[in-house]
Symmetry: C5
Subunit: 191 residues, 5 copies
C-alpha cells in the first residue's frame, strides 16, 4: 500500500510538488486550492477487452489517493492513442492509463504494436506519461488466470501511476530491481 504524502499536491503549472501547509488556513481557501491543484488521472480502456480493466484501475487509484479521474472507453486498442491524447489535451489529465487486451492472433499482435507506437507518439506530443497496460489474450492459461492477470497488472501499474505523480523518488529507489506487473518480480541480478 502506497501512502501518499497527504499534505503535498502537484503544482500543475510547474509540475513540482508543493507544500500544502497553507491549506490549513481556512476551509474555504483549502477547498479552492484543492479544486485548483488536484491532479487528474485519465483512464482509457476498450470494449474489445474481456475484463473491465478501467474499473480495476479506478478502484486501485481511489483506494490510495484522492485525485480526479476521467474515464473514456473506445472500441479497440488502436483507438487508445488518440483517446489518451484527448484526455491530456482536452480534459487536462496529468497522466493517463491506456488499458487493453490484444487478441491472440498474429494480426492482433500487429495491432498491439501499432497501438504501442501510437501511445509512445502521443506521449512525445504532449510531454505526458501514458502508462500502457496491455495483457495479451494468450498470456493466461485459462479464462480465470487471464482475468486474474488483467486485474493484477492493471492495479500494479495504477500504483506506478501514483508514484509517477506523487512519489517519483520511490521509483528511483526501485531502479534496477526487476519489478514486474502481474507476475512475480524478477529481482536484481545476483553477481
Amino acid at each position: 500500500m502506497i501512502e501518499p504524502e497527504k499534505d503535498k499536491v502537484i503544482d500543475l503549472e510547474t509540475g513540482r510538488t508543493i507544500s500544502t501547509g497553507s491549506f490549513q488556513e481556512s476551509p474555504e481557501k483549502i477547498l479552492t486550492e484543492i479544486l485548483i491543484y488536484m491532479p487528474t488521472i485519465g483512464i482509457a480502456d476498450t470494449t474489445f477487452a474481456r475484463y473491465d480493466m478501467g474499473r480495476a484501475a479506478i478502484d486501485e487509484i481511489q483506494k490510495n489517493v484522492s485525485v480526479k479521474i476521467i474515464r473514456v472507453t473506445v472500441p479497440g486498442i488502436k483507438d487508445l492513442p488518440v483517446a489518451a491524447k484527448k484526455l491530456i489535451e482536452e480534459k487536462g489529465c496529468d497522466i493517463v492509463m491506456a488499458l487493453g487486451m490484444p487478441g491472440a492472433k498474429e494480426q492482433d499482435k500487429i495491432c498491439a504494436h501499432e497501438a504501442s507506437q501510437g501511445i509512445i507518439m502521443a506521449q512525445l506530443m504532449t510531454n505526458t506519461h501514458i502508462i500502457e497496460v496491455f495483457v495479451h489474450e494468450n498470456e493466461g492459461k485459462d479464462e480465470k488466470e487471464l482475468a486474474f492477470l488483467m486485474d493484477r497488472r492493471t492495479r500494479e501499474h495504477a500504483l506506478n501511476v501514483i508514484k509517477l505523480l506523487f512519489k517519483p523518488e520511490k521509483l528511483i529507489r526501485e531502479a534496477g530491481t526487476g519489478q514486474r506487473q502481474g507476475f512475480e518480480d524478477a529481482g536484481s541480478l545476483r553477481s
Copy 2:
C-alpha cells in the same frame, strides 16, 4: 438499434452534448442552429476493396442518426490516412471511418500495417477519432462470407462511431465485455 437522444446535439466548440430544448423556439432559429451544430461524419473507402463498404457505412449511419456525411474514395488503403486527415481538417468532419480490404498476400499485410500506422498518426495530429474498419481478404472462407463480413463489420463500427459522437457513456458500460465487430462477441471472461 441505437436510439440517439434526438433532442441533444454536440457543441463543436467544446465537444459537449448540449440540450436542444431551445430548438423549439422558432423554425428559423432551429434551422440556423442545426446548420451550426450538426456533426459531420467522414467516410473514406477504396476502389481496391471488393465490397462497397462506404455505402454500407452511410446506410447504417442514416438509419440511426441525422448527421452530415462527407464521402471520399481513394485507390488503396495507403491513401486512407491523408484522405481521413483532409476530411477532418479541410471538411470539418468530427469523426471519420476509414474503410478498407487489405489483400491476402504478405505484401498486402505490410501495406495494411503502414496504413494503420498512418491512421493512428492522423488521429494524433488532429485529436480526432478515425475508426479503422479493415477486413482482410482472407478472413472469409469464400466471396459470400467475405462480403457478409465486410458489411457486418462496417455496420457495427458505424454504431461505434455514433456512440463515440453521441453516447460515449454507452461505451463505458460495454467496457471489458469482449465486443467484436463482424464476428460473434467474445464476452467477458468467466472467472
Copy 3:
C-alpha cells in the same frame, strides 16, 4: 480513357472545381487565369529502378489532361518521401506520384516499408496525396513482364491521380469494385 472536364479547373485556395466559362471572355484573361489555376503534378522517381517510370507517368498524364508537371529523380526509394514533400511545399505541387522499384532481396523489402511509411507521413504533414507506385523487382517472371508491369501500373495510377485532382466523384463510383493497377481488376465480390 478518361475524359477530363475540359472547361473546369481546380481553385487551389479552396480545392474546389470551378467553372471556367469565364475563360472565354478574352485571350489575355484566359492566359492569366490558366497560369493561376493550372494544377501541378509532381513526379518523383529513382535511378535505382530499371524502367523509366517517370517518363511513363508524364506520357500518360499529358495524353489526358493539360497540367503543369514537375519531375525530380533521386537515387533510391528511401529518398522519395522528402523529394515528394519538397515538390509539394517548395514547388507547389497539388499531388505527387512517387515511383519506385524495390529490389528482390529481403533488405530491399525493409527499404520499401521504410519508404512507404515516409510517404504516408509526408502526406499527413502536407495534407496532400502522394500516390505511391511501387513495383517489386520480383513481381514479374522475367525482365519483359517486369517492364510491362512497371509501365502499366504507373499509367493506371496516373489515371487515378487525374481522377483525384479533377474527378473525385468517379472514384466514389468505383468504390468497392476491386480495381487493380498493373494486373487485371479483381472485381466486386459475388454474394
Copy 4:
C-alpha cells in the same frame, strides 16, 4: 580515462565550447558563470531492469567530469522516450542517457523496438542526443555476466556522452574504428 578540458565550458546558447579564462577574475563571477554554463546530463532508467544502470552511469560521469545530473526512473523501457524528452524540455538537460534491459521474450523484443523508435523521435523533436543503452536480458550467459555487461556498456556509453558534450573531435578521431560498448572493440577492417 577521459580528461575533459577543465578550463572549458559549453555555451548553451551556441553549443560551442568557450574558454573559461575569465572565470579566474573573481569568485563571485566564477560562481555565477558556472551556474549559467554547467551542462546538465539527464539519466532515465527503469524499475524493470535487474541492474541499477542509472547508478553506474552517474558514477562513471562523476568520476570524469563536473556536470549537473538529473535522474528519473520509470517502470519500463516504453516509458523512456517521454521521460527523456521531459528531461530535455522541462529540466533543461543537454543530453540524456536512456538505460534499459529489454526482456528475453519475443514480445519484449517488440517493446524494445518501439522504445527505440520513440527515443529516436524524441531526439528529432528536441535536436538533442539521447544515448540509448539497452542490454537484452539474453545477452549474458548467466546473471553474473549480464550484470557485468550492463555495468560496462553503461559506463562506456557514459564516456561517449562526455565526448559528445565536451570533446566531439575525439569521436571523429575514433570514426570507423569498430568501437563496441560492453564487448571488446571490433577494430578497423584489415584491407
Copy 5:
C-alpha cells in the same frame, strides 16, 4: 568523374543554381559572394563502423567540387538521425550524408531499420535530403571486400549528393537505368 559547372553556385534562398558571371567583377566581391553562396555538405558517421566512411566521403567530394564540409561522428547508427538533423538546422547544411555499417546480427538489422526510419523522418522535418549510406557487415565475403564495398558505396553516393546539389537534371537522365552503389549497375530492363 562529375564535372561541376564551376561558374554556377546555388542560391540558398531559392535553391536555384544562379550564374556567377558577376563574380568576375572584383576579387573582394567574389570572396564575399562565395562566402555567402557556397553550399555546405554535412557528413555524419560512426565509431561503430569498421571503415572510415567519413574520410572517404570527404575525399570524394573534395576531388569534385568546392563546398564547405562539416563532419560529426557519433557512436552508432541510431545516433545518426538527430546528428544529421542538427547538421541541417544548427550548422546550416544543405544536404547530409549519413554513413554507417549495421552489424551482422538480427538485432543489428532492427537497429538499422530504426535508424533508417529516423533518417527519413529527419528529412521530412527539414525538407532536406539526407543520403543514407549503409553497408551491412555481412555484405562483404571478407574484411577486404567489406572495406572495398564501404569505400565504393560511400564515394558513389558522394557523387549522388553532388548531383542533387548541383546537377539534378543529370539524375533525371539516369532515371530507370538501374544504378547501384558499390555493386555493378543493374541496368535498364530489356523488354
